[in-house]
């Protein structure tokens, strides 16, 4: 963000130069102190307390996963420090279970669902966010607020209409406007779940990416426009690289949400295409 000034050789006497250097060192020292943070001892302790509280429940589950099933049911996980007893049986049992859909296969399915379902909505959303931020049009604010408001549409409400749309298509009267996808009963197809995740991700993705994309300095974009770049080039060569950190961090969240999703996947996949969350639930 901050431009680094290029050092230039100033013709001064060696004494003055030494003085300047000392001053520089002093500034660097003080800013170094600043860099080390404004943290006091109390803050460090508070941070540690939060970290411990936040880790404890997961740690308990993690330790439990290595304990014999009988111990888990009768004693608390913290007693393991007094009388240790560990086993890998839980993991062996979990991995070998599942009749037709093994955990390994379900894991693969999760991957196939998650990668496109994270990348596609982000791309579509960044296109729309760019338009909202940098292309002026009538009703832009109203439309943006509408998109933002769509976040609250509960997924549960949209499931049934979407399912019907995917299998039957859209009809007005007797005329088909859109046909169905025609992938019903195909176990290997992930098209429905990709599209469903894309739809549900869009409002939040557009909102978040708009926040970042609209903060890109207008001068940068105007300069590119002056040099003859159209919106396509500005988007691809300036906005995309500049907002890459934001896109990446949102991408991670989207990846996690899709990976952890159970509801959408159970509705839109079937049989051999189910993800690992469903396999875990069925254990």
């Amino acid at each position: 963000m901050t431009a680094t000034p290029t050092p230039i050789a100033v013709p001064v006497s060696s004494g003055a130069e030494r003085q300047l250097e000392r001053g520089l060192a002093k500034i660097e020292h003080s800013s170094g102190k600043l860099k080390r943070g404004t943290t006091s001892r109390g803050a460090t302790i508070a941070a540690l307390v939060i970290a411990v509280i936040w880790t404890l429940p997961t740690a308990g589950l993690f330790i439990s996963s290595f304990r014999p099933a009988n111990d888990i049911k009768t004693t608390g996980w913290w007693t393991v420090f007094a009388n240790p007893g560990f086993t890998l049986d839980n993991y062996v049992n979990a991995l070998s279970s599942g009749d037709s859909l093994t955990l390994g296969k379900a894991f693969l399915n999760s991957l196939v669902i998650t990668l496109p379902a994270a990348l596609i909505p982000i791309t579509i959303a960044s296109l729309a966010a760019y338009a909202f931020a940098w292309i002026d049009f009538k009703g832009r604010n109203t439309m943006f607020v509408l998109v933002f408001a769509l976040q609250i549409v509960p997924i549960q409400m949209a499931l049934v209409p979407l399912l019907r749309l995917f299998s039957d298509g859209l009809r007005v009267g007797g005329l088909y406007i859109l046909p169905g996808l025609g992938v019903n009963g195909l176990d290997g197809s992930f098209a429905k779940v990709w599209i469903a995740h894309t739809i549900f991700a869009l409002p939040l993705a557009i909102f978040m990416l708009h926040n970042f994309i609209s903060e890109i300095p207008a001068e940068v974009i105007e300069a590119a426009r002056m040099d003859g770049a159209g919106h396509g080039q500005v988007f691809f060569r300036i906005v995309l690289p500049l907002s890459m950190p934001a896109i990446a961090s949102f991408g991670i969240f989207q990846f996690l949400w899709v990976w952890n999703d159970l509801l959408v996947a159970t509705v839109f996949t079937s049989g051999q295409g189910l993800p690992i969350t469903k396999a875990l639930q069925d254990l």
Binding site: L34, K35, R36, G37, T38, T39, S40, A43, T44, A47, I50, A51, W54, L56, P57, L61, T74, T75, G76, W78, L111, V112, L119, I120, A125, L127, A128, I135, F137, F144, V145, A149, L150, P154, Q156, M157, A158, V160, L170, L175, Y176, P179, G180, L181, G182, V183, G188, F190, A196, I199, P203, L204, S214, G230, H231, G232, Q233, F235, F236, N260
Partner: protein, 379 residues
């Protein structure tokens, strides 16, 4: 289109990833190239625009596959495309301006309309119909929400969720982000608090069910374990009205604080070092610098985080479903909605609850809209 997806379905799952992504990237590339050339002057570009307007809708529809009415729909699409071309051609901002806008927005708008707007309108309509959809019911469904014990509890609890969860999670996330900023092992400390974010709501609920567990004899839940160790009686935490709702809210806070922390930490790093430096030269202490420089600097981000968590807490379903199933007065609107639907498909009640949920989020939306407008004015 459907034959492409059918062909894709026959391919081994892992190979589907690059194929679908490549196909998608190709589509995006075509859109971007078109956007680049659309607003240029000259006859070839005009012809390009006209061709795209008329041909693309037809090709897209044909790509979906052949069906009975395809010719008619394609013809209508072509006419509409031609209309768009004319509108664009005569536009005040110059030809091609609105076309590039359409190209940028069309994919998102298409998906939002079929996947969210259309279902929302259907739901809103059903909220005023009888439960079996047989006739108009007026405001009866809404009256039910505010008179029945289930509806009232759900409404009250939702208010508790939406008031407590966002503020607490953001406060903890912000405090933690500030405390560990530029400290040693920052990345590791961040990871510890971020981890719950990577666990699904269902997973988090299982973890906390262990945490709140109550048994006859020796306790295996940590909370009761501590209580007993200090000589107390074990408590049935999840049956403890009215506090059990708070215990469920804690699960959401536990998962969302990591989200708040990550986003806010990134924003804190963006606060100009010069300002902090100037403040320290003026003799401020850590808290004053935080209060008067960091917080104003990351204000927009704080609002974004608060908004996101508020909406997440309005929509939360998995936690209530997995931990209590709505028993002991822990139900909330989003959960009650699904339950009413599953209980002999009371679509009227369920839709009314959804509409109330939508109304509850309106203040948040309006506030954010104001903020967006203000930002625009500054620019």
């Amino acid at each position: 289109m459907s034959s492409f997806f059918q062909w894709l379905a026959g391919i081994p799952p892992l190979a589907q990833i690059p194929l679908i992504l490549l196909a998608f990237a190709a589509l995006v590339a075509v859109v971007l190239v078109f956007v680049e050339f659309a607003p240029r002057r000259g006859t070839p570009y005009t012809i390009l625009r006209l061709a795209v307007c008329v041909v693309v809708p037809v090709v897209v529809l044909l790509a979906f596959g052949l069906y009975n009415s395809v010719i008619w729909v394609a013809a209508i699409a072509a006419v509409l495309g031609g209309g768009l071309f004319l509108l664009d051609y005569r536009s005040k901002r110059g030809a091609g301006y609105s076309l590039q806008l359409v190209a940028f927005m069309a994919p998102a708008v298409f998906f939002l309309i079929i996947g969210l707007i259309y279902p929302t309108i259907t739901t809103a309509g059903q909220a005023f119909m009888k439960n079996d959809g047989s006739g108009f019911a007026g405001l009866d469904n809404f009256a039910w929400v505010f008179t029945s014990p289930d509806g009232l509890t759900a409404f009250g609890n939702t208010l508790i969720w939406v008031l407590l969860a966002p503020i607490t999670a953001t406060a903890i996330g912000l405090a933690y982000a500030v405390f560990i900023d530029k400290s040693r092992g920052e990345k590791f400390l961040k990871l510890l608090v971020f981890m719950p974010m990577a666990i699904s709501f269902v997973g988090a609920s299982i973890i906390f069910k262990f945490f709140y567990d109550i048994r006859q004899g020796e306790q295996i839940g940590l909370l009761n374990g501590i209580l007993v160790a200090f000589g107390g009686q074990p408590v049935d935490w999840l049956g403890l009205e009215p506090w059990n709702t708070l215990l469920l809210v804690i699960v959401l806070i536990w998962t969302q604080a990591g989200f708040a922390m990550t986003v806010l930490s990134a924003a804190i790093k963006g606060v100009p070092a010069e300002q902090l430096e100037a403040a320290s030269l003026d003799g401020t202490n850590g808290f004053q610098a935080f209060r008067h420089i960091t917080v104003p600097g990351i204000r927009t981000t704080i609002i974004v985080v608060l908004t996101t968590i508020s909406i997440a807490s309005l929509k939360v379903y998995d936690i209530v479903s997995a931990m209590t199933g709505g028993r002991n007065d822990t139900t909330i609107l989003a959960f009650e909605m699904v339950r009413q639907f599953q209980l002999g498909s009371r679509t009227g009640y369920s839709s009314a609850l959804a509409v109330i949920l939508f109304v509850l989020v309106l203040p948040i939306v309006i506030y954010n809209a104001r903020q967006i407008q203000k930002q625009r004015e500054i620019r």
